[in-house]
Symmetry: C2
Subunit: 626 residues, 2 copies
């Protein structure tokens, strides 16, 4: 494809019909939306919007609460857009009413600062003010798209106009750029919706000033790396600091690179993408190896028990990938998006839809957590929790999951001129605008549980269908109407150009064997170990399925030792791997001369995303290679 | 041997002549004694004894400084006892002068409380007051033994008599037992020296009240486990809390068990010994797996990079073992003492003798430390340092090394009736009191670099020589005057009873091959890995000797693949292991389908105690087993 020629096909054009993501999306519709709403109601997040809090009252508003609310609104609106729901719409309307009353005369709109510290407006860079404003934009656009009601959008625009004046025109705030990136990509969306160039310029202003502002430095002190202010964004070569901030920044960088067709920005995006995916990402698509400042660390640092791997960071990684494939269709972006979505993002929520992980480690040792909990609080180490909870104090992940699942269709397609790119495979019907007009495509698939994708054209015409051949796939077949297809392979996409008839069938058959994956020898703790994957899904073993086995001692001989079967876990069917492996025979000695006495044992693996749904249990992803 | 019949043979009866410990002892005499003295002088520790500090002056005394001073005095006195040194004696005399002036009329003697907080005497259990008093006793006894001067002993006794009155008679302190155990074993020593039963009774009082005192609980709050006050000492079954405190407590428990021939106390000691050595000790004899409260953690928790393994804790472990073999001669105690002494204790000091480690990890990753140092202080993780330093704020380890090396001869022998037990082998001459009279023994050996020990009797008579056959040794030979010896094997000791003549030669030849050692499968991070040992010495690989190799990826096939040679490191000859091992061939991909492409590479291991003497370097102890 011609660089910078990509255009998104939004989830609005895509209707999931069946299969993996349909199930997941419906779970969120039926359970998660209300579950998150109820928790937010209970914790005062919606109450805060009334602007009535006073010292001494319960539920003191918090600096990031508004973003929780608008992120939930955004997600709820995505669902509403697809299917009317009067009760849900009423809740949204009610929240918009509260916002309208909360907004001050000059347009300012933030429940924390308005009620708790009105004098502190725009004085503290790290207090999430612009971050909340960004999520407000995204919520308003989604609400408008779902309901056609302009109220939230209008009050948002008033607020953004205030921000534009204060920051870009008057420079009268105590800092120049957001301490937590987000508003930049939201401003691009607002620009694209309104056509108002000022919003793009404000996004560019925030982006260009980052790492160049003495005011920012003074405002935030000695830790510029944590919020990516150590260098101008175009000079950043390695992913550093807070992972979600880094990746939200990259989303906006990619947005602006595309809009402006800017090579320097594009190169920075590519360099940072490669640094993340080739040096700093877990096999589950999890990123951010330390809880200390929720941050990226250094190349090849992939701790298993203690890695942070925030759910939001993997969501942001997928969002970044989706932007990158608009700049250039390279399968590496969709490979990465799928790794994140199918593993860490989904691990972020329970199979029941109402409980969440913030951190997503690659191993769990209940004995360690138990000991830690037994200690006085001041001498505990930080460890990821081992069971999902209903709400967090900092509850960004649950509503982020709602909006991601609501808009999961975003990940299916993009277009460039007369080519439609099929990135992530889902069972869905789509209407797609090509240069020459709209076409319909119907995908039928059980992907990622099965590698077969049946794509039916709904529209005749001369156009190209570009099918992603995932990086993990070493053998595949493409048939058009039962005959071997003619195609060219471009950066991992099989491009089928022909004059299509209605109801032509393209069948892509991706071989999806179980694979043993090794990490680069530079990753110290993964030496001697392999992960088990099938397609984009990373597998893990849990104690509950493998009682009396020391999971860390299991030695895998061959990938072919596994049998795949579909089994139900907590009411959800999913592939489970069964096989035999070796472990050392138990012995009493603490240390002894090595004997190499092993025995063969049966064992079982489940998809990583399904872990921790059946109580606290040991869990492991990387196993010894026999 | 009859239980409880053991008697120590102190280092005063033993003169090292050559070999491993002689070299080490002379290094401390020539370098370490002065190096520690100079650092203590520079940091105001000796100045504090003048009692002249006032608010606003530099070098504010610290609650544990007195213990640093008296521990150094104890060590220096051990050397002085063996060899006159006027300058050293002058320093000791000067310190005693200062103490004399510092002591208040009622006998109180503590530089911190006297000058900084006189009103806070005996009010804060965790402030090391009794700990300092304990080290004062040990210093005073050592000084007296070396110089025959009673001054320090007399003022110590005045102070201890005050403590006895306050704590045991009047119960007028704000707590009942020491927050940091130490004084208990010192009181036993004082009792043994003076014959004054009150001192033993005070030790017993402290021991019996521990874990039973509401006053202690009130004084120290919610964390009784950290200082072993969660249970009466006889009920403690697992090693918990601060490692040095735990082990100093065990030393006193063993002392009292022996003195009182008390079964319940003995069983508690045995249970705790087994818990430590069979569940919570590194292959280097290091204990205390977490820096958080410098503590024991839980069974099978042996982190490599982050373990604490304080030098003092391994010294204390050896001290405990030495007491246990008086209760009952079982080789497991000397096995453990050697593991601690030859590995973690010695790792605690540089080959140059003037730099020290407090923490002794089993792996070092300079990239991790470098990244960590690059971060803002508030978001750093705690990591062991990778190069030894000259002094610590809390500098207990350096003077503890001085006294341990000065008294290393303590670890050679013990007696029981007419049997002399040879525990740790050293090249030395000894005078040993048996029931039937004094005998002389001369050991000649290059142990632990060579397994041959030649023992020459200097005294004729009917007695038993019991030679420890180390647990690591699976093949050995014993000759008496060139003929196979007749002996019985009792708990790992080959007991040779005969009517000895002067100049009889017993030759014990311990086969000392390189061994690969595996840890119990319950240790998660050591699964799939082996350590390399030869005799009691644990080996490690350092980056500096193995450039361009990923140490964590090295796979060892057989112990017989190693060649042993004596090489010089920093001027010290020691055994070095060379061999070939496999590593994965380098590849660029971050993740890929497992290929198993390995190549054979030459590599080299050095004794663990010698690591980190040639600059910052990667280090590893546990290697993959091919």
């Amino acid at each position: 494809m011609k660089k910078y020629s990509g255009k998104p096909v939004g989830f609005g054009q895509v209707d999931l019909k069946d299969g993996f993501w349909h199930t997941q999306q419906e779970l969120v519709r039926e359970v998660t939306i209300d579950a998150v709403y109820d928790r937010f109601e209970e914790t005062g997040r919606f109450e805060a919007l009334k602007g009535e809090w006073k010292e001494g009252m319960p539920f003191k508003p918090h600096i990031f609460w508004d973003s929780d609310v608008t992120k939930w609104m955004e997600g709820a609106a995505y669902y509403l857009r697809k299917k009317p729901d009067a009760a849900l719409e009423e809740k949204l309307d009610m929240l918009v009413e509260r916002m309208e009353k909360l907004q001050t005369e000059d347009g300012y709109l933030n429940s924390y600062f308005t009620t708790v510290e009105p004098e502190a407006r725009f004085t503290r860079r790290l207090d999430h003010e612009l971050y909340c404003a960004g999520h407000l934009i995204e919520g308003a656009l989604a609400y408008y798209a779902a309901t056609g009601k302009r109220k939230m959008l209008d009050l948002t625009i008033r607020y953004i106009d205030l921000i534009d004046r204060i920051f870009r025109v008057e420079h009268s705030a105590a800092f120049d750029t957001p301490g937590h990136q987000e508003i930049e990509m939201a401003l691009v969306k607002l620009y694209q919706f309104t056509g108002e160039i000022r919003y793009k310029e404000l996004a560019e202003y925030f982006m260009d000033m980052r790492g160049c502002s003495p005011k920012d430095e003074e405002n935030t002190g000695e830790d510029p790396v944590s919020f990516q202010s150590h260098l101008p964004v175009r000079k950043q070569k390695t992913a550093q600091g807070h992972a979600v901030r880094m990746l939200y920044q990259l989303c906006a960088m990619a947005d602006l690179a595309l809009l402006n067709q800017e090579e320097e920005m594009t190169e920075a995006c590519e360099t940072l993408f490669d640094n993340i995916v080739q040096r700093r990402m877990h096999i589950t698509g999890g990123v951010g190896s330390t809880y200390l400042a929720e941050a990226f660390t250094f190349d090849y640092d992939l701790p298993e028990l203690t890695t942070y791997n925030e759910t939001c960071a993997s969501i942001a990684l997928a969002m970044f990938c989706r932007r990158m494939w608009l700049i250039e269709a390279d399968r590496k972006y969709a490979d990465c998006a799928e790794l994140a979505l199918y593993n860490t993002v989904l691990s972020g929520m329970s199979l029941s839809g109402d409980r969440f992980f913030y951190e997503n480690p690659l191993a769990a040792d209940p004995k360690r957590n138990q000991f830690n909990q037994s200690r006085k609080e001041t001498i505990r180490e930080h460890l990821p929790i081992l069971e999902r909870v209903k709400v967090f104090d900092c509850s960004c992940c649950p509503p982020n999951l709602v909006r991601t699942m609501g808009a999961i269709g975003d990940y299916m397609y993009s277009v460039s001129e007369n080519t439609v790119y099929a990135h992530c495979y889902m069972d869905a019907e789509a209407k797609i605008c090509l240069q020459e007009g709209e076409i319909c495509l119907r995908q039928r698939t059980q992907y990622p549980y099965d590698g077969k994708i049946d794509l039916e054209t709904g529209t005749a015409g001369d156009y190209t269908i570009a099918l992603r051949i995932p990086g993990w796939c070493s053998s595949y077949r493409i048939l058009v109407n039962g005959e071997p297809a003619v195609y060219t392979l471009e950066k991992g996409y099989a491009c089928l150009r022909r004059v299509w008839q209605e109801k032509d069938h393209v069948v892509l058959d991706l071989a999806m064997p179980v694979e043993l994956v090794e990490a680069n020898p530079s990753v110290p703790n993964l030496c001697g170990r392999v992960a088990v994957m099938r397609g984009p899904i990373t597998f893990c073993a849990e104690g509950i399925d493998n009682q009396a086995l020391s999971l860390r001692d299991i030695r895998i001989r061959n990938a072919s030792d596994f049998a795949v079967s579909m089994e139900e876990i907590c009411g959800r069917k999913m592939p489970v791997l069964s096989g035999r492996a070796s472990v050392r025979k138990e012995f009493e000695a603490f240390y002894r001369t090595y004997r190499g006495e092993e025995e063969s044992v049966p064992w079982k693996l489940i998809p990583y995303f399904a872990w921790a749904n059946r109580g606290v249990s040991e869990m492991n992803v990387w196993f010894l290679k026999a």
